[in-house]
């Protein structure tokens, strides 16, 4: 079992996401992370999907994804040189004073931005790979994380390589 990162280029149509995720749920795979957005090509969306599975199972899912009429291209990025990014928002308990100063200091070290300040809370925005966000979460935990929002991971191949339709 290992973590696989898949990049799926699809037609931007109602029901596509349901078709894609259905292939995972049918096999009892939990999708760990999912990000969907439009792409550089008109009418196409990009899905970045992270799931656990053994290589054979994941190979079968990729083949099944390729069979979907609305799927244009599937790439397994797992073994390839890539950059992954995720965005997270932390709402942390931080009363004015020493505690707030500490939280702000941690934010600075992580190059995290403060996007909102309330009487008793500070909200931080951070982008990075999952490890970086996990690390920030551990450091902020003692102050009381009121809410945590994580987008799904997105990934892009390094250099000139792309995940595009063949035409």
């Amino acid at each position: 079992m290992k973590r696989h990162t898949l990049s799926v280029l699809v037609e931007n149509r109602a029901g596509v996401l349901s078709r894609v995720t259905g292939l995972f749920s049918r096999r009892g795979f939990n999708i760990e992370s999912l990000a969907v957005g439009t792409s550089e090509e008109e009418g196409m969306s990009r899905i970045t999907l992270v799931a656990f599975g053994d290589d054979r199972e994941v190979e079968q899912v990729i083949k099944q994804l390729n069979k979907l009429i609305d799927v244009i291209k599937v790439s397994d990025l797992t073994e390839r040189e890539r950059v992954e990014r995720e965005l997270a928002l932390f709402k942390v308990g931080a009363e004015p004073g020493a505690v707030r100063a500490e939280v702000m200091q941690i934010a600075t070290i992580f190059r995290s931005r403060v996007i909102d300040v309330g009487p008793k809370t500070v909200t931080l925005e951070i982008t990075g790979d999952s490890d970086k966000i996990d690390a920030l979460e551990r450091l902020l935990a003692p102050y009381g994380i009121r809410e945590l929002y994580r987008t799904g991971r997105i990934a892009v191949l390094r250099g000139q390589k792309t995940v595009k339709s063949e035409k």
């Binding site: 029901g15 349901s18 259905g22 079968q60 083949k63 390729n66 609305d70 244009i72 339709s165």
Partner: protein, 557 residues
């Protein structure tokens, strides 16, 4: 201006559809109003499930796309089993469903069900049409998707306001389809073809394992040419019966759970297994680890997802079976060296034949064999599911492709009667026989009404043993004969048939079987033969679930 409903029917006619099977209801009224004076023939079934199976039987018997139509909600849901049946066996059908108007979608409106969502995992593709002007494109795409690549069912869900929606008269019907996410591979990769030819040339004990893909792609001549040039025996799956003539000396019949002993031994001993449009289903392979343990494997299939799914493959070839076999034949030299191998296979054939007891009692296999003799490879045999299906598969000599119609992958009881109706429309003038069990027949017996209404000339042979026989067999063998809920009380099938205006005869003795079947063949119109067979007859040989396929029980020496 014209309407969505008119465009829909016009689109079907342009695709060459002549007959559809359906059942009306509220939201399909606009479509039925167009059908009222359309040249498209509509057959009114008695339950929507039968409409889907009839479209499927029509497709299997003709090689063309079958079409069924149902209303929203319960009508659409009743199609589901039929759509799943077609999906598992890669059969091209179009299922048209009515839907509540778009402004009520998701509103729990009367007779609303999310059939688009429900059928996502059991269709090759499906559509929820939201604008009438999309219909010409959607119909063209649906037929193209259903019938190309690995065929399969496509559902089109049509809200009532789309059917009534206005469309300009000059709307265009596309004649070509281009989909950027769907480009099936037709030709095999030249490098893999070379590798296959190399293995085929060197093999001493080759075996061809042919599945439904051979029939779907029309590759029977290429299959025969390959078998004869190599001198290789051929075994077929349930879906592949008819791909090679049943009495050809290289034909070993069916393999797998109820395959012939000699086919299963050949799989175990072969040094090269060529899977052609087959998918290594668990009913074929038994314990997968010991399936073809001494063989290298060439796997030819149009669906890349099938290759390597269940069994590791040495030479994968993605492409249409007929094209790929032709490519192989172009390069494969003449000259066979399989003499000793064929001698061995024929020895197994002689020592482990499929037999029936000759004790004067009325065994179901005898009924099948007699029918096989009488029809001599002509016409279409449709089966239900269970023991009747396996006896038909084992003992009928199929001589042509599309002469055998059976629910293989899903194993749908109740499939046979409506599928046989569809086959009658696909092959007018030919004998269409249904081989049924008393259990399966009662699952869609309401279709006697349809058969009566249109005089559909289905000949029905009931192998009546008063049991859900296959389940009873498993209870006998694996559950200490504890026959939990598998015994069925006697039913007067001839009486039921007569009530629907269908002639029939009941047979209780072996000596009367032949005359009854002859009467059925001679009868102009539907006919039923209710044969009281030995009640606790088993289907043998049998590979117990999970065992290796050479570990059969009930194979007589």
């Amino acid at each position: 201006m014209t309407t969505g409903a008119k465009v829909l029917i016009e689109g079907l006619l342009r695709q060459g559809t002549k007959t559809i099977f359906g059942y009306p209801g509220g939201v399909v009224l606009p479509i039925y109003d167009v059908l009222y004076d359309s040249p498209l023939e509509h057959i009114l079934v008695r339950h929507e499930q039968a409409a889907a199976h009839a479209a499927d039987g029509y497709a299997r018997a003709s090689g063309r796309v079958g079409v069924c139509l149902a209303t929203s909600g319960p009508g659409a849901c009743n199609l589901v089993t039929g759509i799943a049946t077609a999906y598992m066996d890669s059969i091209p059908i179009i299922a048209l469903t009515g839907q509540v108007p778009t402004n009520l979608l998701g509103n729990d409106a009367f007779q609303e069900s999310d059939i688009h969502g429900i059928t996502m995992p059991i269709t090759k593709h499906n559509y929820l049409v939201t604008q009438a002007a999309d219909l010409p494109r959607v119909i063209a795409e649906a037929f193209y998707i259903a019938s190309t690549g690995r065929p399969g069912p496509v559902l089109i869900d049509i809200p009532k306001d789309v059917s009534t929606g206005e469309v300009p008269d000059e709307i265009e019907f596309p004649t070509t389809v281009s989909l950027r996410g769907y480009q099936p591979t037709v030709k095999g990769h030249p490098r893999q073809i070379e590798r296959a030819v190399d293995l085929l040339t060197r093999a001493e004990r080759p075996l061809l394992y042919a599945g439904g893909g051979v029939i779907l792609s029309g590759a029977e001549q290429e299959l025969l040419a390959l078998a004869e040039r190599l001198g290789a025996p051929v075994t077929t799956t349930l879906m592949g019966l008819g791909a090679i003539c049943g009495d050809h000396p290289l034909n070993l019949g069916m393999l797998g759970m109820h395959g012939t002993a000699y086919a299963n031994y050949a799989v175990t001993e072969c040094d090269l297994l060529v899977a052609i449009g087959a998918r290594f289903d668990d009913r074929v392979t038994g314990k997968i680890e010991t399936f073809a343990p001494n063989a290298q494997v060439i796997h030819i299939d149009v669906d890349p997802a099938e290759i390597g799914k269940n069994k590791p493959v040495d030479v994968p070839i993605v492409g249409d079976v007929r094209h790929v076999l032709a490519q192989i034949l172009e390069r494969l030299p003449e000259g066979s060296k399989t003499g000793p191998w064929l001698a061995r296979v024929n020895e197994w054939r002689a020592t482990h034949p499929l037999t029936i007891r000759d004790d004067g009692l009325l065994h179901p296999q005898y009924v099948v064999r007699t029918l096989s003799e009488l029809l001599d490879g002509e016409g279409v045999i449709v089966s239900e599911v269970g023991q009747n299906q396996m006896w038909a598969a084992q003992h009928f000599c199929f001589k042509k492709p599309r002469s055998w119609i059976s629910s293989g992958g899903l194993g749908t009881m109740g499939y046979g009667l409506p599928a046989a109706m569809g086959a009658c429309y696909a092959r007018p003038g030919e004998q269409v026989f249904l081989i049924a069990g008393d259990g399966s027949l009662q699952m869609n017996i309401q279709e006697f009404g349809t058969i009566m209404q249109y005089g559909i000339p289905v000949k029905i042979v009931v192998l009546n043993n008063g049991f859900l026989g296959m389940v009873r067999q498993w209870q006998e063998l694996f559950y200490e004969r504890r026959y939990a809920y598998t015994e069925l009380p006697p039913v007067d099938f001839v009486g039921i048939a007569r009530a629907y205006g269908i002639d029939g005869v009941r047979v209780e003795e072996r000596d009367k079987v032949r005359a009854a079947l002859e009467a059925a063949i001679a009868h102009d119109g539907p006919f039923l033969v209710d044969v009281q067979v030995e009640r606790e007859e088993n289907v043998f040989p049998m590979v117990p679930a999970g065992a290796a396929i050479n570990e059969m029980i009930g194979s007589r020496q």
